[in-house]
C-alpha cells in the first residue's frame, strides 16, 4: 500500500527483531487498578506501546492518558481485540471482496473500487468493547480482564451499509443481516466469529462500512481494509476485515449471537451474583459513561486553581450534561462541554477546581440527551458487560 508502508515495516521490525518482544518494551509495565492487573506495555505492528492483555490473539488496551490528548484516539494508540487467533497478517486490499448474499435479489462481490464509486459518509463514533472495564467488577467476572481503555473514538469514513443492501435488494421477510470477517478459528470446533443486526438497525443512517479511520487506512489490527461501524452499539458488532454480508430470513442462532455476548434482560441489565434462570438478550447499545482524563496516577495536584478535563459518551443520544463532585458525590457542579463532534463521539469537558490542600474523592457524572444518568452503584452480570457507573478518583492536593 502507498500510505504508511514505511511505518508498517518499521513497526513490524520493532516487534519482531528477535522473534520475540523487544526487551525495552517488556521492561515497562502498567498496574491496572485491580488484583492481577500488572500488564506489560508492548508495541505491536502499527501500534505504539499499548497495554498487553493477550498476545495471541492480540488484545491491547489504550493507556488512559491517551484520552486526554485529543477528542480522537490516534490509530496507533487505538485498542485491539480479536477473538480467534487465525488473523491474516497480510491483506491485499486490491484483491479483497465483500460478498453480499442470502435473502437478496442480486448477490454482489464488492471491491474497494466499487466502494470508491459509492457516496462517502464520515462519522465520529466511539468504539467500545462490551467488556471494557471488566476487571473492575466486584465480584470479578471471568473474561478479558480490561481496565477502562478498551475503547476509542475515531472519525470513520466509508459507505452506508444501507446503500450496499439496496444495491443487492433485500427480500421481503428478511430478519437479520450477518457479518463475517477474514479471521478464522484455529481449530475446527471453535465457532467462526459472526455477528448479526436486525434489518432495521442494519439499515440505519449511520451504519457504515468504513475504509478509513481518522483519515488514514485502518491499521491491520483494527480491521484493514474495511470494517463495519455501528455507532452507539458495542464494538462486538463492528466486524473487522469485513468479507461477507449475509441477509438472513431468520434470527441468527450462531454461537456469538445465541450464547455469547448476552446480557440479562433485567432492570439495568444487572443480576445478583450467582443468580440463574433470568432471560437474556444480545448486547446492543452502550450506556452513558464519563471519565476524568487528567488525573495522573498517584501524582498530587497543586493547591489553588486546577483544571479537570475528561470525556463523556453514550449509546447515540449525545451528552446533555456533565457534573463534577469534589466530595465523593454528595454535591455536584455542572461543567462546560467542549465542541460537539456529533452524538456518537467522545464529548470533552473541562471544569475549574479551586482547592485547598487535602485529600479528595473526585467524581464525574454524565447525563445523556435521552435522560439516562450514570448511577453510583455498579451493575453486575456474569460476563462483565456494560460497566457504566460513576467513576471516582482519590486525589491529594499539596
Amino acid at each position: 500500500m502507498e500510505l504508511g508502508r514505511g511505518r508498517f515495516l518499521a513497526a513490524a521490525g520493532a516487534a519482531l527483531a528477535a522473534g520475540a518482544l523487544p526487551r525495552a518494551a517488556l521492561a515497562q509495565t502498567v498496574q491496572l487498578p485491580f488484583d492481577n492487573g500488572t500488564r506489560p506495555l508492548v508495541a505491536f505492528p502499527q501500534k505504539r506501546p499499548l497495554i498487553l492483555l493477550t498476545p495471541r490473539p492480540p488484545q491491547l488496551e489504550t493507556p488512559f492518558e491517551v484520552f486526554n490528548a485529543g477528542v480522537y484516539t490516534p490509530n496507533d494508540a487505538f485498542y485491539v481485540r480479536w477473538h480467534l487467533a487465525n488473523i491474516p497478517q497480510s491483506v491485499d486490499a486490491s484483491a479483497h471482496r465483500i460478498a453480499v448474499s442470502g435473502a437478496v435479489n442480486t448477490a454482489l462481490s464488492l471491491s474497494m473500487d466499487d466502494l470508491a464509486k459509492m457516496p462517502a459518509v464520515e462519522i465520529a463514533a466511539v468504539n467500545q468493547c462490551s467488556g471494557n472495564s471488566r476487571g473492575l467488577f466486584t465480584p470479578r467476572a471471568i473474561g478479558g480482564e480490561w481496565g477502562n481503555g478498551a475503547m476509542g473514538n475515531a472519525l470513520w469514513t466509508g459507505v452506508r451499509l444501507r446503500d450496499i443492501l439496496d444495491r443487492a435488494g433485500v427480500k421481503a421477510g428478511a430478519k437479520q443481516v450477518q457479518f463475517d470477517g477474514l479471521d478464522t478459528a484455529v481449530l475446527p470446533g471453535t465457532p467462526d466469529f459472526k455477528k448479526s443486526l436486525d434489518v432495521d438497525v442494519a439499515r440505519g443512517d449511520d451504519v457504515i462500512v468504513a475504509y478509513a479511520m481518522n483519515g488514514e487506512p485502518l491499521p491491520v489490527l483494527n480491521g484493514y481494509p474495511v470494517r463495519l461501524i455501528v455507532p452507539g452499539w458495542f464494538a462486538t458488532y463492528w466486524v473487522k476485515m469485513l468479507s461477507a454480508i449475509t441477509v438472513l430470513d431468520k434470527t441468527d442462532d450462531n454461537f456469538w449471537m445465541k450464547t455469547a455476548y448476552r446480557i440479562p434482560d433485567t432492570p439495568g441489565n444487572s443480576v445478583v451474583p450467582g443468580a440463574t434462570g433470568y432471560p437474556t438478550i444480545p448486547i446492543n447499545r452502550m450506556a452513558v459513561r464519563s471519565f476524568i482524563t487528567n488525573i495522573p496516577d498517584g501524582a498530587p495536584f497543586k493547591r489553588g486553581r486546577n483544571e479537570l478535563r475528561g470525556i463523556a459518551f453514550d449509546g447515540g443520544s449525545g451528552i446533555k450534561r456533565v457534573e463534577l463532585s469534589m466530595d465523593g458525590g454528595t454535591t455536584w457542579r455542572e461543567v462546560a462541554l467542549e465542541r460537539d463532534y456529533g452524538k456518537y463521539s467522545f464529548r470533552r469537558f473541562a471544569g475549574e477546581w479551586v482547592v485547598a490542600p487535602g485529600t479528595y474523592t473526585v467524581a464525574v457524572r454524565a447525563t445523556a440527551n435521552d435522560g439516562a444518568v450514570q448511577q453510583a452503584t455498579p451493575i453486575w452480570n456474569p460476563s462483565g458487560y456494560l460497566r457504566s457507573s460513576i467513576e471516582t478518583y482519590k486525589v491529594s492536593v499539596i
Binding site: 508492548v42 505492528p45 498487553l52 498476545p55 497480510s90 486490499a93 470508491a116 481518522n214 491491520v220 463532534y341
Partner: protein, 116 residues
C-alpha cells in the same frame, strides 16, 4: 453529517497527507485503500505457563487457540471456576481434551492460577 465534522475531516486528511508525504487520498478525502498491508505478529511474545505438576497436560490442551496470557490474567479462580472454564473450552470451543486429563488440568490451574 454536520458541517463541523466535515471541516474536521478535511483537516485530518490534510495533516495526514502532509505528515506522510503521500497522496493516497485524492483531493484530501480518504479513499478505499489499495495494495497489501503486512504485519508480523509476535506469537506468544515469550509468555508461557508456569512450571508445575501437570504443566505438560496444560501445554497440550491449552496452547493451540490462544496464549497462556488468557489464563494468567484472570483473577485467582476457585477450583469450581477453573473446572467450568475447562469444560467451556472443551464444549463451546472444541478444545481437544480427553476426559481423564480434565482433573489434571484443573488441579494445575487451581494450584498455579487459583485459590482454594
Amino acid at each position: 453529517m454536520t458541517k463541523q465534522s466535515l471541516t474536521v475531516l478535511a483537516c485530518v486528511a490534510a495533516l495526514g497527507a502532509a505528515a506522510l508525504g503521500a497522496n493516497a487520498f485524492a483531493a484530501g478525502k480518504p479513499a478505499p485503500p489499495k495494495g497489501t498491508a503486512t504485519i508480523s505478529l509476535p506469537g506468544d511474545a515469550g509468555m508461557a505457563y508456569k512450571p508445575g505438576a501437570g504443566v505438560g497436560a496444560v501445554q497440550a490442551a491449552c496452547l493451540s487457540c490462544h496464549s497462556s496470557a488468557y489464563v494468567s490474567t484472570q483473577p485467582l479462580l476457585t477450583k469450581a471456576q477453573w473446572t467450568a472454564e475447562v469444560v467451556k473450552m472443551k464444549n463451546a470451543y472444541g478444545a481437544p481434551i480427553a476426559d481423564d486429563q480434565v482433573p489434571v488440568i484443573v488441579d494445575y490451574l487451581t494450584t498455579n492460577y487459583g485459590k482454594p
